[in-house]
Symmetry: C2
Subunit: 170 residues, 2 copies
């Protein structure tokens, strides 16, 4: 049987020279691969969680799938200016420049048990900022799930206060 990792395509020099991009689209477009990946992420989720929070954009695909499978709600974290209602926002450092992300203030109630999901753990900046947004709203982060972890970039250290799971490691 094909392993989950066998569905991932590595593309050199994308989005810029020297970067090996891990492309998850061959996994997503394969019915077996997608089912299996979601099932493996799902078995990491305790039964009492109340919502999946997904990070734009690829975290939306995994998050939407996980939320319906677990029969819980889905909450999006988006880039600045995309969410129409009152938001909590945070700005964090990137390699060059900064990024701002937002969450709707009414999306998570105090004490709500949350799983945060994204496709890729690289430096961990986006996930750490997302976790802060959830906590500012009073949400309780039970676990953070990734499809892929790039271990060299040590994103795990930035998230050491959280329970973290990645399906594939490079």
């Amino acid at each position: 049987m094909k392993k989950i990792k066998d569905f991932i395509r590595t593309i050199p020099d994308f989005p810029k020279k020297g970067i090996l991009f891990r492309d998850i689209t061959p996994l997503l477009q394969d019915r077996e691969g997608l089912q299996r990946a979601i099932a493996l992420l799902q078995q990491e989720c305790p039964e009492d969680i109340k919502a999946i929070v997904g990070i734009e954009s690829r975290g939306f695909i995994l998050g939407g799938a996980l939320a319906v499978n677990l029969k819980v709600g889905f909450v999006p974290i988006r880039k600045r200016g995309k969410l129409p209602y009152t938001t909590e926002r945070i700005t964090y450092q990137l390699e060059y420049g900064t990024e701002t992300i937002e969450i709707h203030t009414d999306s998570i109630q105090k004490g709500k048990k949350i799983i945060l999901v994204d496709d890729l753990l690289a430096t961990g900046g986006t996930a750490a900022a997302s976790a802060k947004l959830i906590e500012r709203l009073g949400g309780q982060i039970i676990k953070i799930l990734f499809l892929i972890e790039l271990t060299d970039l040590k994103g795990r250290e930035k998230l050491k206060n959280y329970n973290l799971f990645s399906l594939i490691k490079y």
Copy 2:
């Protein structure tokens, strides 16, 4: 029982003055609402379809959920420059300026039965362009699904060659 439409929040003057924005996030974050919306979209999908194509970004949430429920693959259509592999691309007219979207050339095989999904049908420009991308790859569009249709904007006319379903109309 709350209707699906009761979960949609209307926000005036977003993203700009004079626009009534239909915010689906209260629906997505409600476990009952999300389950029901996905189930209603799902019952519009014939059993023999092979993949869900979702349009970035909100179409990813619905598309990911539908794909795992239907046990088929998921294919993303993204804004220019986001997909790492060889793409088919199309540029289409917006109210002001143009937009370019892309799909991976290996994502759909000739004759494959496809459901295209997005959250909102407005003027229909993005959906019509997405449908063309799928057809250029040889995909057969069985149906186009939307959560919301803004009937005044007559997007349906631009998609009159397709089987179209929208869950809620304004």
